[in-house]
Each structure stands twice: as C-alpha cells, then as structure tokens.
Amino acid sequence: MLTKRIIPCLDVKEGRVVKGTQFVELRDAGDPVELAGFYDEQWADELVFLDISASHEGRKTIIDVVEQVAATIAIPFTVGGGISSVDDMRNMLRAGADKVSLNTAAVKNPELITQGATYFGSQCIVVAVDAKYDESIGSWRIYTHGGRTPTDWEVTDWVREVTARGAGEILLTSMDQDGAKTGFDEALTRTVSEAVDVPVIASGGAGAKEHFVDVFAKSGADAALAASIFHYKETSIEEVKAFIRERGVLVR
C-alpha cells in the first residue's frame, strides 16, 4: 500500500539554505544541492524548496539550484516561493522540478491554479496554505506574504476552492505551530484532510519523532514536512522512519 511520506523542507535565500522559526529568525544551514543529496541518501521521500529571496537576482539563482538538484537526486521535489505566473511554473518544471508550489500568487489570482493545472497537469500543482487560528471566525484564517498578510479566506473554503481549480496537493502550514516544536497541528490537518480529496502535507511544529506518529495516526495527513529538526541533526529521517514504522505507520 501507499506509504506516508517524510519531506524535509529547504528554505533557500540567495542560493543558500536557511530556516526561520516563526518566520522571523533565520539561520544558515548550508548548500541546497549538497543537502538534497544528503537527504536522498537518508531516505527522504521527497524534498520541498522554498525560495525566500528578496531580490530579483536572488530569485534567478533558484533556477540554477533546481537544475543542479534535478541532476543530483532521484526522488521528486517541489519548488515554491515567488512563483506568480505560468512562465515561472514552466521555468521551474523545465529546470527539473516535479511540482511547483503556489501561495500568495494563488490567493491574489486563483485563476493561476486553473491555468497551471491545465497546462502542466494537477499532479504538478501544489498550493501552499499558511493558516492561523482566528477566534473571531472560529476557524483558521489564510495568510499570505510569508504569514504577514491576513486574507478573508477561511481554510476549508480556500482548500475546496483550490482543489476545485485543479490543485493536486495541499502543503498546509500551521502558523500557530510553526517553529514551536511542540507537534503538528492535528485539528487543522484533520479539518483540511477531511475537506479535500487530494493529498495533504502537514507542516509546522515538528520537534520530536513522536510528532510524526501523531500527525499520521490522528489527522489523516499523507505526508509530513519538517526543516530544522533534520537540518540541525536533532534526529534523522531514518530514525523517524524506524520509529514510526515500529508504531504501525507504513513508510518506505
């Protein structure tokens, strides 16, 4: 049967991997191509690269990174961050990315999802969703611009909208849990998993091996994404997989 996926995320800024906690503090964790090869050997199931470059020059370097990564590893990977047109998507896919991830641009112009799915197929179009609990609506609100800008979208409405438009996968980040290292947001992940038929990648909050068992067993996630616990070798992907396999979760 289909296995649950463990996905390290590499935030790339001007060609280097960095990781922010709560989206603010950044630390440098190395060369993206080298790290990609390392995670492939560690049995990562997939990789996600998020380009957080601020400058136009920085953005251009991500294409080189994508080409080098595609030439190095034999597992699928997704590229996101700053993708705002069909041309951007085409450039990434041509450079060897398997999927592209849309976030702010998808909220600004949902038609972009439809176009991407039509031109390249739903299997290449991931929509990244940054959600934060909002008591005033009794649910999670969608944010854009790396979590800085609130939108009018409630999470269930938004994920239904994007999947109706052809998104093939949801990369769901809990802003409440991101960087906290106290576990994935199970309630949020379950809500989204139940609302859509496409795979859901849970993100934000991984701090220990147990958290991966919880997110798969209790929330219906198809994949779990983490960054710092892998980058700083607090645990390894192999250790996480061995741990959750012993607890009945199917992994590769």
Partner: protein, 214 residues
Amino acid sequence: MIGIIDYGMGNLYSVKKALERLTIPYFVSEDTEELAEADGLILPGVGAFRDAMNLIRENGQFEFIEHWAADGKPLLGICLGMQLLFEGSEEHGDTEGFGFLPGYARRFSGKDSQGRKLKVPHMGWNSLTFHQPDHPLLKNVEEGHAYFVHSYVIETADPDVLLATSDYGEVVPAVVGRGEIMGTQFHPEKSSTVGIGMLENFGAIVRERSGAHE
C-alpha cells in the same frame, strides 16, 4: 544507444540526467530517421492520453513506433508512455493506444475493497510485488518502493504481462512487459535505487541488443 522519443510532452530533463549518471549513451529526437538509428527507445510522457496519441500521430511517429515494435526492438514506456503501449484509455472519452500489450486504462475507482475512500491521483511511494523477478528489467533490483503519480490505471486480463504490481485498493500494474516491449507506471528516474536499477537494466538490455547487431 538509447533514443528518447520527443513528441512534445513530458519533462525529459530528469530521465536524461539519470542516464548520464549511469553513463548510458542516449540522444533525444523527434525525427524518426534519427530514432531509427537507436538500439532501444524510451517513450516518455506526462499528461493526457488523447493529447499524447494525437501528437504522436501529428509528428508522424505512430507508424515508426509500430514498425519498431513489430521488429522486436526494445521499447520502454514510462508513466503515460507505458499506458500508451496498451489498447486504449477512457481518459476524456475513449482513445486508442498502440495495442502492443493487452489492457485498457481507466480511472481509479477511488475506493478500496471495503468501500473506503482512496485519494486520486495515486500519489507517493508504494511497495512493489515482483511477479517475474528474473525478468531482465528486474534482475538485481530490490523489491522495494516506487514513486507513483497517476489517476488512470491499466486493467488487464492477461497476468503474463505483469512483471511487478502495487496495491491501491486494486491491482496497479507497475512494471509490464512482453518480449521487447516494456513499461513502468512510475517514473524510474524519480524512484531512487529501485527505479534507477531498472533504468540501468534497460540500458543493459539495449547494449546487448546492439552487440547482437554487430
């Protein structure tokens, strides 16, 4: 020498890089005269069945590929390229395929045998069961996992063409073959050591073939 058939669909970058890492000689071409010089062909493909068949016909590659298969030369279909080797698909209305292998592509039911919901597409790593482990394509390859992304699945009444299968609520033909016609539903170039091993084996099959010509 492997020829990769370019008909305007599918990302060829990763499969090219994988062949380079394996030091298997290859070239990419849409030109049937050039492709005719190859010892083995790869038929790639991502996207819709009907679009792919239409492009192959428009490019004048259909009859070339038919003759290639009739001559008993090695041909490896990847992902959608594998499905094209079968009789047809119900994707966007019925479309005829090459018909080299018996079977038909139809949409996943989206349910397991107990009626529970399964997500479509079938996306991610699934375990393989080898039915013909001694087949040259599977030789020395670990019976591990491969990375799948597809919404349509081949249904065949002929178990002889199933070299390896996966399970996603129903039998998923994962590696198929009869004679020199072979295919993988997953992308071998994205399926780590298991998939790379099969690409390496296809390279060996083609090399043997070229030796036989000399």
